[in-house]
Amino acid sequence: MKTVAARPESLTGAQYHYCPGCTHGIIHRLVAEVIDELGIREKTIGICPVGCAVLAYDYFNCDMLEAAHGRAPAIATGIKRMLPENVVFTYQGDGDLASIGMAEILHASARGEKITVIFVNNAVYGMTGGQMAPTTLLGQVTTTSPYGRKAEVEGYPVRMAEILAENEGSAYIARTTVNKPANVRRTKKAIKKAFEIQQKGLGFTMVEILSACPTNWGLSPVQALEWIDENMIPYYPLGEFKNKEA
């Protein structure tokens, strides 16, 4: 008998706690598949964020360390500098990475830390119940912008991939999404590239992944996937923004 699909060894098999239709689970699986394919599970160390993925250590079958909110890139730096032969990744949401952790991510990238950042952009603070994030779109309703985000009051959404691509220390920066099978495949490719470039020691790597939060967007799972196409991609274009290998 031929096995056509199996759980990646890099996932523990613990049942996800994510909401129905949340795409954190897909992204976890892609990261795990890449770790399996590169054969690096025994030397990979992951950093969990503070956000809905706070329990990621229950799902990834490798060494994991929990960070304080926003500090994952600084923690990854400490690990990677101490253990340069290991593969180090952070898994962070947009509140964690682009809000309270903005300084850490900018400086990890500027220093060219040889780590991989999996950045899950769902345009809200998911875990705390759907407050406005720096990535919240203009007009988007959240619990702290109940009449929609207004540029005059709350400013403009930040495009992290574009910002970090500017840093000389960044070696690979891409933005993808997981709302369709083709996009899922592209995301996996980008994650693989990021890990490979980390291993080659070329510098900082990040894949920003537009992800659905049906719960806090107030949409059904299917509508949420469509919302990514209709609202997020026009503001957050997909593509590679930096590739030092290319």
Binding site: E66, A68, S99, I100, T128, G129, Q131, T143, T144, S145
Partner: protein
């Protein structure tokens, strides 16, 4: 005269309604469980026009407190709220608020601190800010949260020292209780508009929190130390006047229950102290002369009031929901012992740490603990 209105509300709702009644001008905020419901409610009040204030959704708590301090220096009445690691992340700027003598009022919804993570209540977060120069209240009911925020603004603005109003996550922040809302005219009478003596005003240039040499620095620190102690009569006055106007009373610096003839005194803060009243009743039914002393004001520590209130030869059972790392037991026990030393040699102090990370503290459990402590 308009009558008070009674509504059902959580502790978080009570805090948001107090912010509205206090006619706060500026509210910077960053979400953190279990505080988030406060700033969400305030953000909604600002957006729908119920509260004429500016809500600033900043990028983290360090900035939340920095924006609060700055808005206060500009003359605004300022409120923010946080919990646990959010409060720890503010720590540096907490000193800027007190050292700059800026009367910010903040709710800290108590939660245990990282690492490891917990979402549930204990008092390590606020008590770890003991030496930041803030006044600290600990509340034991939703109504007290509402009342205390108003009293906190009064005291803060009278003496130019920031005030932290603490209450437990979930047990208070997320539980519904009836809430009495005094008429706005009464609140306005109790809490007049904020008229700071100094503010950033280009017409009358002044600067805050400058670089100093030691001869200037030391007196500033001494003044802060003296003035925090001078807050005690203001706290009492605020509680009394609030009572005269609204009829409501939660205690002033301390709150007591069946204390007068007590031989065994439970000593604790926050929601567990409300539950302890029921433990005291259980102990009394068992023939033990038990009573409660709850410091409503944790800082400045109301030593005189405690010394005067404790009955002769009482055994005081301090129930700490925090650790005093580097010492045995908890922080409240150390505070109490240092207050009593040389003043009340008749008192015995015993201490237990309990309820860490949200472990439930039901009345029977605490009654049993107190009984067990009596035999130690």
């Amino acid at each position: 005269m308009k009558a008070a209105e009674v509504v059902m509300g959580t502790g978080a709702r009570a805090a948001a309604l107090a912010v509205k009644s206090a006619r706060v001008d500026v509210v910077p905020g960053y979400p953190i469980t279990p505080q988030t419901s406060i700033i969400e409610a305030v953000a909604a009040m600002v957006e729908n026009g119920e509260l004429h204030a500016r809500f600033i959704p900043v990028e983290g708590e360090h900035s939340a407190m920095a924006a609060a301090v700055a808005a206060s220096a500009a003359g605004a009445r300022v409120f923010t709220a946080t919990s646990a690691n959010g409060l720890l992340y503010m720590h540096e700027v907490l000193h800027m608020a007190s050292g700059g003598r800026l009367p910010v009022v903040m709710c800290n919804v108590n939660r245990g601190i990282f690492a490891p993570w917990t979402l549930w209540a204990d008092h390590q977060d606020s008590m770890a800010q003991r030496d930041t120069g803030w006044i600290q209240y600990h509340c034991s009911s939703n109504q007290e949260v509402f009342n205390t925020i108003l009293q906190a603004f009064r005291v803060a603005e009278q003496i130019n020292i920031p005030v932290m109003v603490n209450f437990d996550g979930f047990a208070i922040s997320h539980c519904l209780m009836p809430l009495t809302l005094p008429p706005q005219e009464d609140i306005d009478r109790f809490l007049p508009p904020h008229e700071p003596e100094w503010r950033l005003d280009p017409a009358h240039p002044s600067s805050f929190s400058n670089v100093t040499n030691a001869e200037e620095y030391a007196p500033f620190r001494q003044m802060l130390s003296d003035d925090i102690m001078a807050a005690i009569p203001l706290v009492k006055q605020a509680a009394q006047e609030y009572k005269d106007i609204t009829g409501m009373w939660d205690g002033d610096t301390i709150d007591t229950y069946r204390l007068e003839d007590a031989e065994v005194v439970a000593f604790a803060v926050n929601s567990m102290a409300a539950e302890l009243k029921l433990s005291i009743d259980i102990l009394r039914q068992q023939g033990i002369k038990a009573g409660l002393l709850r410091p409503r004001l944790y800082l400045p520590f109301p030593a005189e009031d405690i010394i005067n209130a404790l009955p002769q030869n009482a055994q005081v059972m301090v129930l700490d929901r925090n650790y005093n790392f580097g010492h045995p037991g908890g922080i409240l026990a150390s505070e109490l012992k240092s207050a009593l030393f040389g003043r009340r040699n008749d008192i015995t102090v015993k201490n237990r740490v309990m309820g860490i990370g949200g472990i439930d503290l039901p009345r029977r459990f605490m009654a049993d603990e107190i009984r067990a402590m009596m035999d130690e």
